[in-house]
Symmetry: C2
DNA sequence: GTACGTGCAAATGATTTGCGTTAAG
DNA sequence: CTTAACGCAAATCATTTGCACGTAC
């Protein structure tokens, strides 16, 4: 999670801090609201720039759900389970699923695939 | 593909026509450009309204790729393979993959999942 | 004839960018 | 000291909406 090449500005640190241990997949606005308490002068542009920057550095992960960007500290490859009612997103790790999926497309002509992820849709117990 | 409850306006017909047999997953703008030849006075608002309408009716399918909506005539459940270079998207049908994925999450606590789809990433032969 | 769809222009919402200033290393 | 990041405001891009008019059925 540390990297020598990057400048650890207060803004960046607070954003990383907010995301750390936050598995709710917050949107840009939610991250902005979350760090505003600590850094009252921060702007949304800075949040956008840093979230993009940190995603590109592989320090966080961006998930796009129906046109909205969300961010999470879990950088391991994994799948997502989404509730159709409350829109909550759960991480789901399954190496065997990833491997099975890759095996299935391996002998496909015209494409060399190197990774995959699966999205699940359903209803969480809270909403059911 | 036909439905008695809907009004078949020229705009709607041309949009369906453009999408029919078009497996390139066009964006809203591409659909707009595609039908403008036939209906010079059509506006993007109409294209947006109809693509949404037809998706809700289940007559076409919307796919969201990195924040941009794309549309396709293939309404059967299926997976997608995307080229990281040229961004081309290929449909990939695999009932066994869907079934395997569902089986894996079936005994997950806190969520009742009813469908899934897998996205694959790689490089197509054209780009490789 | 009536309800629904359309074209147009304006509104909204998300994200990006130019620029002068500030701070990390 | 130098370069990258910040804050601010304005720009851009995708998508939606209100409204008067038109058209499918």
């Amino acid at each position: 999670m540390t990297n020598a090449d990057i400048k650890y500005t207060n803004q960046r640190i607070e954003i990383l801090n907010f995301l750390k241990d936050n598995y709710n997949h917050p949107t840009v606005d939610e991250v902005y609201d979350g760090v505003k308490n600590k850094l009252s002068r921060i702007t949304k542009a800075t949040v956008y720039r840093n979230l993009k920057f940190l995603s590109e550095k592989g320090m966080i992960q961006e998930v796009n759900v129906k046109g909205v960007s969300r961010f999470e500290p879990n950088i391991k490859p994994h799948h997502h389970i989404m509730c159709n009612r409350c829109k909550k997103i759960l991480d789901f790790e399954s190496k065997e699923l990833s491997e099975y999926a890759l095996k299935i497309v391996k002998n496909l002509k015209g494409f060399s695939v190197n990774n995959s992820n699966t999205n699940f849709y359903g209803v969480c117990n809270n909403c059911a």
